[in-house]
């Protein structure tokens, strides 16, 4: 792992610096913003959009064209913007050469709209499907295929949904940061062969991306209250973010705001997770600070990697603002009732028939017994990870609350609604969730290669 990560970093640095692609040359580059989806419906309570999955080309930091798959031609795909209570209608058209679906990560919705093969036949090439559901919760969510997700997301199929609620903080500047990476070969192509290291760690790229761009520059105002909504859409890479001279004030996560924001020097974001943070930009005009991905040991010597630069934040020429304060509280969340453990989920990895596999309770999907839950009932899960690496555990269609990690109880004032949580290597997480919507729901490791390699199961919620 050590050699790979060092080599990866070197390639990245070489691509960005040695090849003369420093974006500061020739004037400031445009900030990589997300393109909003076009709302085709005049009803203010309906967001109606068209999404097409299709082949395209993108130029990453290599300077060569790369054949990619996109939603509406861009990576990331379009940003869907709505408000709590809006009805979202998506007319989906598959122009890819293979079948696909759209899964709405983190959204609470009817199971038939969740875009998994447990509830929906994949959309064939040339086929269409109409997704429709209500946006129930405020926050940042995202969408991606749930068919061959390791390949289809790596090729570029992902997009964002931003849902605004009634408790949004007043800030001076607000951005969405979509964290990703991509491995581009010397000829500009994406690898078609899944090597064993990529199976084990999930595909990790040689180019780090924010909003689809390598080492972008963001310009912000000193003294301004900044809000960053961050999502990790990478297949396997964990991002451990630091911004020298600044501290993250964490104000929300997967399922919206948290009652008691907290400060952290590092922000660890595993694949699938979202964090909502606030901070006050500091510095003199022209001063820049580099957003870094710091080493994190998630298993198999991944912590030996050197820090990797992600983006530049440069103070603009506007006069410094004063008097801004960070948010300190948000409305209380409903605490789900505690109960004794209903279901044990054991995550492991191993070799079966000469192949690397990832298991739940000793089996691989689809051979894992289905968990059954009556509708609207609360269930407590103990998720034990007996493997040598962390697994980001994701549950579809509902939020859960973490009761403990490695036996240490979550403080009462640290309540949060999550849909993805890191289960530490050789560790455990206890969580509680209520299953309101009937149907079949997936749960899985959000390292896509692990899910596709077997670490995925189903929860059957009765009527």
């Amino acid at each position: 792992m050590l050699t790979l990560t060092i080599r990866t970093t070197a390639i990245l640095i070489f691509a960005l610096l040695a090849c003369g692609s420093d974006p500061r040359e020739g004037g400031p580059p445009a900030e990589p913003v997300l393109m909003p989806a076009t709302d085709e419906n005049p009803d203010p309570n309906v967001v109606e959009i068209s999404l097409e999955a299709r082949e395209s080309r993108k130029r990453y930091a290599t300077g060569l064209d790369t054949a990619v798959w996109t939603y509406n031609g861009s990576i990331p795909g379009p940003l869907i913007e709505g408000r709590v209570g809006d009805n979202l209608i998506v007319h989906f058209n598959n122009e890819l050469p293979e079948e696909t679906t759209i899964h709405w990560h983190g959204i609470r919705l009817p199971a038939a709209m969740d875009g998994t093969v447990a509830m929906q036949s994949p959309v064939p090439p040339g086929g269409t499907f109409e997704y429709e559901f209500e946006l129930q919760d405020a926050g940042l969510f995202w969408f991606h295929p749930h068919v061959r997700s390791d390949v289809q997301v790596e090729k570029g199929l992902y997009g964002l949904i931003q849902v605004v609620g009634t408790e949004e903080p007043l800030v001076d500047e607000q951005r969405i940061l979509v964290l990703d990476d991509v491995r581009v070969l010397a000829d500009g192509s994406l690898p078609t062969y899944l090597d064993d290291e990529s199976k084990m760690l999930g595909r990790q790229g040689n180019i780090l991306l924010i909003n689809g761009e390598a080492m972008p520059t963001f310009r912000w105002q000193a003294g301004a209250l900044q809000r960053l909504q961050i999502v990790n859409v990478a297949n396997g890479r964990f991002f451990n973010l630091s911004l020298p001279g600044h501290t993250w004030r964490v104000i929300g996560t997967d399922g919206g705001f948290i009652p008691k924001p907290y400060d952290s020097a590092r922000l660890l974001v595993s694949p699938g997770e979202r964090y909502d943070v606030a901070l006050i930009a500091t510095g003199e005009p022209g001063e820049e600070v580099t957003l870094m991905n710091e080493p994190y040991e998630r298993g198999h010597d991944t912590g030996a990697a050197p820090p990797m630069p992600l983006a530049r934040f440069v103070v603009n020429e506007a006069p410094s603002l004063t008097g801004r304060t960070l948010p300190t509280a948000f409305p209380e969340l409903e605490r789900l009732p505690d109960r004794s453990t209903d279901h044990e989920v054991v995550l492991d990895e191993g070799i079966l028939g000469g192949a690397l596999v990832f298991t739940i309770n000793g089996e691989t999907y689809p051979n894992i017994p289905v968990i059954t839950v009556p509708a609207r009932e609360v269930r407590r899960f103990e998720v034990r990870n007996v493997s040598e690496m962390d697994h980001p555990f994701h549950v579809h269609g509902t939020f859960f609350q973490v009761l403990s990690t490695n036996g240490t109880a979550t403080p009462l004032d640290a309540l949060a609604n999550k849909d993805t949580v890191i289960v530490p290597q050789m560790g455990s997480v206890e969580l509680v969730s209520r299953f309101d919507e009937p149907g079949r729901w997936m749960y899985h490791c959000h390292v896509f290669e692990h899910a596709e390699g077997g670490m995925m199961g189903e929860i059957d919620v009765g009527e």
Partner: protein, 118 residues
Amino acid sequence: MKIIVTALAIFMAACSSDGHGGSDGALEAPMLMEVVPMQGALHLTWMNMQADADSVEAERKMDTGAFEQAFLVPGTVDNRMDTAAMDDMPYTYRLRAKKGAEYSVFSNEMTANPQAAP
């Protein structure tokens, strides 16, 4: 030390080679970087010095036996878990690049025991 070796390999690959063979036109051998126990098998990591190789061939010998082919992977791949090497004994590896009918010389050799404590 490994960092220095890797950096040197990167420098050689990026700067001193055009990726189309050595100065005499011969294929350049990969550089075997690491052989470590993983999941009861052995995981190999290497640096490809021949950018346009069709494939990389690995040979393995068990203990004091003779080398024989362990696996063949595309030329852009730089790692592999050898799930056939799971017994408690030393396994030694060497690699070579292949392009068409042409082979490079063999790489450096590395030895590890899959049952050794990490």
